[in-house]
Structure formats: C-alpha cells, structure tokens
C-alpha cells in the first residue's frame, strides 16, 4: 500500500476532473465510469512500480503516459460572485444593444416620419422610400444581431454580418450628415471617427455580447 502526498492526490483529482469534462463533451461514454477506470489504472501503475510514497511527480509521469488533457480544457468552477457579475454584464450588454441599437433608432426614425421636424428646420433626412429602407436597416440588423447573440453558442450567420456592415455604413452616413451640422470641430471628429473602429462598433458589441451570453450560459 502506497502513501499519497496531498499534492499527488490533488494532481490526480485535477487530471480526472479535466478528463471528465473532456469525455462529457465528446459524448457517448460515461464520464464518471471513465474517471473511475483511469483512477484504477493509475493505482495499478503505482502498485506495479511498488512506490512507498506517491509524489506529484509520479502522478504527472503516469498521467503523461495515459494521455494528458490540455490545461485550457479545465472546466473552471465559477464562483457565485463571478457568475453574478457575468449575469449583470450580460444584461447590460443586451440592454445597451437593444436600447441604443434598436429602440432609439426606431424612435428617431418614427419621430421624424410623424413630425417632419428635421425636414422643416434643417434638411430632409428621409427624402425617398429607399432612404427609409436604409434608415430602418440599422435597427433591424441590430435587432437580428441581438436575437442571434441571445442563443449561447450561436454563431452569427454571414448575411447578418453583411447586414450589420451595411447598417454601419448607413449610421456612419447619417452621423457624418448630422455631425457636419452640429459639430464645431467636425473635421477632427470625423478623422478620429474614421480612423478608429467606431463605425463597426455594433459588430464588436454583438460579438462581445455573444461571448458574455455564452460564458454565462456555460456557468454550472
């Protein structure tokens, strides 16, 4: 009978935990059964080696022969605080995308359509049905991106990326249009705007939101 050091036990448990996650993800096999089999195998190796004391080094050597599990596949236990933070971040990202990307643009376009305030005071931002379609494209694309990001593991389809890209173009166009009217330092602002990644901010927001939702959903 060998004596195990605490670090040796810890190393084995960590390995089995990682392996259990890996087997569980691949499907078909029973992760608990595989973990028990591997534990038995390690114990058998140790019995064959007739080690009086089992150290972390011994366990690492045996485990590397068995077939190591990459460290990055460790399903890290998520602390309740972290889980709460993720849930808050997810809600914030979701809410921001919905508020600034969908509700606000819809309200703005509707307000202009009903009141014609901008047309009467400055210029007509929606002079034709085509302009209306383009103006509606931004909230529509954002809404679809928001919906797509809500499903964990859901990758945004290619057409959605294209729709968001087109929406970015439209929003940039209107920003330039209004920026030229209202901003005193418009040239500098436009230079900063175009050189930075702001025009595709909603694409990044979509991606970030999708990641947050995915991470939150993966929490046990």
């Amino acid at each position: 009978m060998s004596n195990w050091t605490s670090s040796a036990l810890q190393t084995l448990e960590s390995y089995l935990r990682r392996n259990r996650g890996l087997v569980g993800a691949s499907g078909g096999a029973d992760p608990d059964e595989v973990a028990a089999d591997l534990r038995r195998h390690v114990e058998e190796e140790i019995a064959a080696l007739q080690l009086p004391v089992v150290t972390e080094k011994d366990v690492r050597r045996i485990v590397s022969q068995i077939g190591p599990v990459p460290e990055e596949e460790v399903p890290m236990p998520v602390e309740p605080e972290r889980k709460r933070d993720l849930a808050i971040a997810s809600s914030l990202a979701s809410g921001s995308l919905l508020l600034f990307g969908v509700i606000l643009p819809v309200l703005t376009v509707s307000f202009e359509l009903f009141t014609r305030l901008c047309s009467s005071l400055l210029f007509d931002p929606i002079p034709s049905p085509l302009h209306l379609v383009l103006a509606v494209l931004a909230p529509l694309a954002n809404f679809l991106a928001w919906q797509s990001a809500r499903s964990p593991g859901n990758k945004a389809p290619r057409w959605l990326w294209l729709a968001n890209g087109a929406a970015c173009g439209v929003t940039l166009f209107y920003t330039v249009l209004f920026g030229r009217l209202f901003c005193r330092y418009r040239d500098r602002l436009l230079w900063v705007w175009s050189s930075a990644a702001l025009p595709i901010a909603d694409v990044f927001l979509h991606d970030a939101f999708a990641n947050v939702v995915e991470t939150a959903a993966a929490c046990p």
């Binding site: 078909g28 058998e44 064959a48 077939g67």
Partner: protein, 114 residues
C-alpha cells in the same frame, strides 16, 4: 511525411480502434490495464489509456461489451471486460465488412504501386 498522410493515418486509426478492442476481447476476458498493454503493442495503433477507457465506456453503453469488477491481491480491484452476444455479432459483421473493403481496395492496387 505530409500533413495529409498524418491526417489520413489518424482517420484510419479512429476507424479500426473499436474493431481492435472487440477483437482483443473475442473469446477472452481482459481487464483494462492488461487490455491497454495488449493494444499498445499493436504496431501503428498508438493507443493510450486516455483513448482506450472512453472507448470501452462507449462500447459498454452501446451494449457491445460488459464489465465486472473483481478484487485483486496484487493491487486495486480489476475491471474485466468481455464481449456480449450483440458485441460478438457486431464483431463478425465488422470483420466481414473490413475483409470485403480490404479486398476491394487491394483489387484497385496496381502492380507498380508501392
């Protein structure tokens, strides 16, 4: 060797691993540790314990093999695996299919090919 060949070998290994396990258990019981040592000695199979145990579990869940634990005087309890009736039937079918496939593939081989 090329990356293509390496990938091909991985695919072929994947395809025959389960067959090799079933063949190793044909008409004889074997415990995990012993099975690993037997299969690890098969040239080209490159089997590790990390690959074998999930496969054994999958085969057991599929009802092709059964397992029983037996106390051992030399160390921890041993888990003995054996083929079920369904496993034996499947092995026969797999063997027949592979023989046919091999035969077909061999018929395509030109004398010049190495």
């Amino acid at each position: 060797m090329s990356e293509f060949f390496d990938n091909w070998i991985i695919q072929v290994r994947k395809g025959v691993l389960e067959l090799c396990i079933l063949r190793a258990l044909d008409d004889q019981e074997s415990y995990g540790y012993e099975l690993v040592k037997t299969l690890a000695a098969v040239p080209g199979l490159s089997l590790t314990e990390g690959t074998l145990y999930p496969l054994l579990s999958r085969l057991r869940v599929a009802g092709l093999i059964s397992a029983r634990l037996e106390e051992s005087a030399e160390g921890p309890a041993r888990k003995y695996y054996s083929l079920t009736r369904e496993g034996r039937r499947t092995l026969v079918a797999m063997n027949e299919f592979l023989d046919k496939l091999n035969e077909g593939a061999r018929s395509l081989r030109r004398p010049m090919a190495v």
